[in-house]
């Protein structure tokens, strides 16, 4: 490969540590590929209306992986993109998934009209497993959110959240720490208030750090060469906090180690889940963020 996607770290040539897959608990699907109806400037996989790095997945493709996932005892399923609801098969995919386990959808909330929300509610009611929706927002108001997520997005997201709540679905509001204040106690309290104002009597919130890759590298700066993990820095059994010890990510182009490295060909591990049950070297600087901040993309 000619494209060095990982910067060389001069003066440090210890090998990266390897993380064993302890159990395949969480299976992700890049179900909308990298196609999104927004182009947020902190998106760590740089999704946009024209980004075809990964394509949409079909129902049949997803079902094939579900069969294998059941054999391997997967505990929960996550769907992301891009925007999952741009995928015309999304509701059929959720129905197939909810027959075998709980499903989580990471959405930007723009395509949640009241009809869709009612259908999602019906899907949830027909399953013994939970359907969880996670809606992204990056500010308490349009002035702080829209410069990141796009003009008019604040109001449209709130609308989606209102529709979910009206259908009896209680989404998790997901905010990144792109604005420093979001992760503080005061910031969290403000988001809880915002949700209550929309009609959530049981507000739910998740705060995530930002990954300095993709569009975010241009917006907030890329990694420095010291931001890398080295063998021996952590005991060999000390990787439980990294999601790659318990997850894999499926896209239309195969199975990848985790939801973060889908734009790095080195992140791809094989074609089927069974190809990817081995260990993975933590070579990428994003692994540094995961390790230091203890990030998990899960709810």
């Amino acid at each position: 490969m000619t494209e060095p996607s990982v910067r060389a770290a001069p003066g440090n040539d210890l090998p990266p540590p390897r993380v064993r897959l302890a159990a395949l608990d969480t299976l992700w699907f890049q179900v909308a590929g990298t196609v999104c109806n927004l182009a947020c400037n902190h998106c760590f996989i740089s999704c946009s209306p024209t980004n075809r790095t990964h394509e949409m997945m079909s129902l049949a493709e997803v079902e094939g992986y579900l069969v294998e996932a059941v054999e391997l005892g997967v505990k929960e399923y996550y769907f992301t993109g891009g925007e999952p609801f741009l995928n015309p098969a999304m509701e059929a995919i959720l129905e197939a998934t909810l027959a075998v386990g709980p499903a989580n959808v990471l959405t930007n909330g723009l395509l949640l009209d009241s009809e869709r929300c009612a259908r999602l509610r019906a899907l949830q009611d027909a399953s013994e497993y939970s359907l969880d929706l996670r809606v992204s927002l990056d500010g308490f108001d349009a002035a702080s959110n829209d410069p990141i997520r796009g003009e008019g997005s604040f109001e449209r997201v709130l609308n989606g959240v209102r529709n979910l709540l009206a259908a009896g679905l209680n989404p998790v509001l997901t905010v990144t720490e792109v604005h420093g204040v979001s992760g503080t106690e005061a910031g969290k309290a403000k988001f809880f208030d915002l949700l209550r104002g929309l009609g959530a009597d049981k507000p739910r919130l998740k705060v995530l750090p930002v990954f300095q890759i993709g569009s975010e590298a241009e917006r907030g700066g890329a990694y420095e060469s010291w931001q890398k993990l080295r063998a021996g820095e952590v005991a060999d059994d000390g990787w439980e906090h990294l999601q790659c010890s318990s997850c894999r990510m499926v896209t239309d182009r195969g199975v990848w180690v985790c939801p973060i490295l889908v734009n790095e060909p080195e992140g791809k591990m094989g074609e089927t889940l069974s190809d990817t049950l081995g260990s993975y070297p933590l070579e990428h600087p994003a692994c540094w963020t995961c390790h230091v901040y203890g990030v998990s993309c899960k709810t």
Binding site: A39, G73, K202, G214, G270
Partner: protein
């Protein structure tokens, strides 16, 4: 000012930038921080990763489900005809006393506690003599782990500051009212036990066999997950607690996964009774009964008030609804709750 940039020019530039953002990937793929021709990315992806041949794949799958310890499984206790199992005492000595009576009345041959002795309720030291009196075989929960290792807080890490506040309060209270001997004893408790009921061999854990603090809720832990877990641990059933909500799942293979419930606080259903489980040998394997238990909850509430424990906790004991730390619930369980 003469050379001020006209506002519509700023607006125009902003719109152009926005357009560029939306269309810049035409024919290009993102590779790390760069844009490269789509074909280049796809070629690299096709070459990346190790695809196994079909036999190797089948082997990999089998290997994954294989029992994950070498040699014979550790000796199981029993066999018993009938056992009583509970978790989450949370200092509720009133419920524990009632449970021991009920287990005796139902002729349980052995009584197991799956951990979490402290937190929430009053007077942690009252729990210990009861456990001894009832010959309760106890596992270590995450609470015992924290107390025995001298941690400053229970490390629950809730997103909601209010939840963290209450979790810390209850941990600190228990921390301060437990003797060093009791804490040291907690550190000696086993994390797993294997118990035979009739012909079935059951694995008893606090959270899950993988993690002492893993949450296994009915709506978030599917059948396929348990089938694999039971294969890996060579057992016919799994008993766990930790979440505070009881359930029983009969698996397609005929084996069982049970959350035995907790006796320390009600199950968030508007009923002040608490829950435990009776497992009994039966003709076609094993019967699992989830049992509601009434106890002197008024008395406990008064004792909590005398100890100046949060009124929110007292309300839970009296009303049966949880008032704090609900964010761990999956959507289905959360929707059924009052708060």
């Amino acid at each position: 000012m003469a050379n001020r940039i006209p506002e519509d020019a700023v607006e125009k530039a902003r719109r152009a930038a926005e357009r560029q953002k939306l269309t810049r990937h035409r024919g290009l793929a993102t590779w790390g921080e760069k844009l490269v021709p789509l074909e280049r990315f796809r070629k690299a992806v096709d070459e990346a990763g190790t695809a196994l041949n079909p036999e190797e794949r089948a082997d990999a799958r089998q290997e994954y489900r294989r029992p994950n310890s070498e040699g014979p499984a550790p000796e199981a206790e029993g066999p018993y005809r009938r056992i009583a199992v509970f978790g989450g005492v949370y200092n509720n000595h009133c419920a524990l006393a009632a449970l021991l009576e009920e287990a005796h009345r139902r002729d349980a041959e052995a009584v197991y506690c799956l951990g979490d002795l402290g937190g929430f309720g009053p007077h942690p030291e009252k729990v210990r003599p009861l456990l001894e009196q009832g010959a309760v075989k106890t596992l270590q929960g995450n609470y015992e782990e924290s107390l025995a290792s001298g941690r400053e807080d229970c490390n629950c890490g809730y997103t909601d500051p209010r939840d963290n506040h209450f979790a810390t309060l209850s941990y600190r209270y228990t921390e301060a009212h437990c003797s060093p001997e009791f804490k040291a004893w907690m550190g000696t408790l086993p994390r797993q036990r294997r118990v035979r009921v009739g012909s079935r061999e059951l694995l008893l854990v606090h959270g899950s066999p993988r993690r002492i603090n893993e949450f296994l809720f009915f709506s978030s832990a599917p059948a396929a997950y348990f089938e694999t877990l039971l294969d890996q641990h060579r057992c016919d059933g799994l008993l766990c607690t930790h979440t505070g909500l009881h359930w029983h799942r009969r698996l397609p293979s005929g084996r069982d996964a049970v959350n035995v419930g907790v006796i320390g606080r009600p199950a968030n259903d508007g009923d002040p009774r608490v829950w435990f489980s009776i497992l009994e040998e039966s003709r076609n394997g094993i019967d699992v009964e989830l049992v509601p238990l009434a106890y002197d909850h008024q008395g406990l509430a008064e004792e909590m008030r005398r100890e100046e424990l949060p009124e929110e906790f007292v309300e839970t004991i009296l009303s049966g609804w949880w008032t704090t730390c609900l964010e761990v619930l999956p959507p289905r369980e959360r929707a059924a709750s009052k708060y």
